[in-house]
């Protein structure tokens, strides 16, 4: 067994880190304050081929391996979780199109998505359907060679920016979940911005209402006879992996800031780092961050090797890392004292962003329902 990045992965990490430091970090506080990310950043991400970076080179992607893809999310997430989150949703759509779309769809859409000419968002959640995704009410009814889509989506990241949505609707004929590529300028589609949220404030959330939107039947991703939910599970598998790494990113940024701060801040005539109770917090923070990262490495390794166990490993990594990020960012605020609740330090933003990580891509409670089912596979008596 060897836990060591290859030279290519190390190079990728430095490249991602340098980019994030130069082009993302300086704008992160403004993104959080203004509730948006700048178009100039999006353009730069596209130019550097950070959008759809997992997609095969033949479709304009970088064919990034899963570990490098995780490192991309860690490096970007340390700088700005909202910008990182654009990669999550855009890449989930790329993943679904590349894996489940037909050849025409891949050829039409992937070059547009990897070049950033089109920004994509993933629209599943509805006002009355969150964790229970199978209860969505948006419908897609086939009429001739078009689908007629009606319904309402909410909390959609980057809805305000997206040119196209991977929209999940209930197939009017089979009643199963189906995915459609719906351009944002489709007649009958209206986006209403959602602003002033607690965390990931720069992720340009929106509500998307569709009233009898007509899209060609060829907009459907995958065959109408595909197993129910495969489209959603495929997209969420990558999304969950990236959010696990995004959680590690928050934890790492908080740990780094806490070590620096506790070494510089004097109380009772010594740096607060010398106080045992501060060290106790730092120990937990450090150990949990490393543990979360190791779980992410395992999930990434299994996914890269295309092992079915990657599904379970990703659930566990996301569960652990998002909880760790919430705890670690809370401790980081504590260590920074009053500065921790001010805008003087990024830990305040990380603390708010961490709250979101336990809610998206399967909440902590949903993971607690799902993960034991995998445990039973390994530990049940009739195995």
């Amino acid at each position: 067994m060897r836990i060591q990045l290859t030279s290519e992965q190390l190079e990728n990490r430095s490249r991602f880190g340098a980019f994030a430091e130069e082009h993302i970090a300086p704008l992160a506080a403004a993104s959080d304050r203004n509730g948006r990310i700048e178009m100039s950043v999006v353009k730069r991400l596209a130019r550097e081929r950070f959008l759809g970076s997992r997609v095969a080179v033949s479709f304009g992607g970088d064919g990034l391996d899963m570990i490098s893809y995780g490192l991309l999310h860690e490096e970007f997430g340390k700088a700005c979780s909202s910008t990182r989150s654009l990669l999550t949703v855009h890449d989930m759509v790329c993943e679904a199109v590349e894996r489940l779309g037909n050849e025409n769809m891949r050829e039409q859409w992937l070059p547009l998505l990897t070049s950033g000419e089109r920004i994509a968002a993933f629209a599943l959640t509805e006002p009355a359907s969150g964790s229970d995704a199978s209860s969505i009410a948006t419908t897609a009814v086939l009429e001739g060679d078009e689908y007629l889509i009606t319904g309402k989506k909410t909390w959609i990241s980057f809805a305000q920016l997206a040119d196209v949505f991977l929209l999940i609707a209930r197939d009017g004929e089979h009643g199963t979940m189906a995915g459609f590529l719906v351009p944002a300028d489709t007649d009958g589609l209206v986006v209403r911005p959602i602003s002033d949220i607690l965390g990931l404030r720069g992720s340009m959330l929106g509500e998307v209402e569709l009233t009898e939107c007509r899209v060609p039947a060829s907009s459907r991703v995958g065959s109408p006879k595909m197993p129910a939910g495969l489209i959603v599970a495929t997209a969420l598998q990558l999304g969950r992996y990236s959010v696990a790494w995004g959680s590690v990113a928050i934890a790492e940024a908080c740990v780094a800031s806490s070590f620096r701060y506790s070494s510089r801040r004097y109380q009772f005539n010594v740096p607060i780092f010398e106080h045992q109770l501060i060290r106790a917090m730092l120990t937990e923070m450090l150990a949990e961050t490393k543990a979360a990262r190791l779980l992410c490495y395992e999930a990434g390794y299994l996914a890269q090797e295309r092992k079915p166990d990657a599904v379970e490993a990703t659930l566990i990594a996301k569960f652990f890392a998002s909880k760790a990020a919430a705890r670690i960012s809370a401790d980081a605020v504590q260590i920074h004292g009053a500065n921790g609740v001010s805008k003087n330090y990024a830990v305040e933003r990380h603390f708010r962003d961490a709250r979101v990580m336990e809610i998206i891509e399967g909440s902590t409670q949903i993971q607690q329902i799902t993960i034991p089912k995998y445990g039973l596979r390994s530990y049940s008596e009739n195995r």
Binding site: L100, N102, K225, P227, A228
Partner: protein
Amino acid sequence: MDLTDKRAQLREFVTRSLGTPNLAGDDDIFEVGGATSLFSVELVIFIEDSLGVPLADDDLERDNFATINAMAAMIDRKHATP
């Protein structure tokens, strides 16, 4: 790996994953076996990468995955016409 091995491994994977050792070859795994959408993802990876049977766009149909026998038949077909 020959076809008999592939069938046996497929059966082992499905019954172990779903915790249904007595699953019959014609039982619908999405109903009797309680297969979830996450399991569909695992199944596709298993057939493609663990069994080495690449799936084309139009193989990804529920009917091809509904029962162990249907999956085995699909694998047989693909073996005959790779």
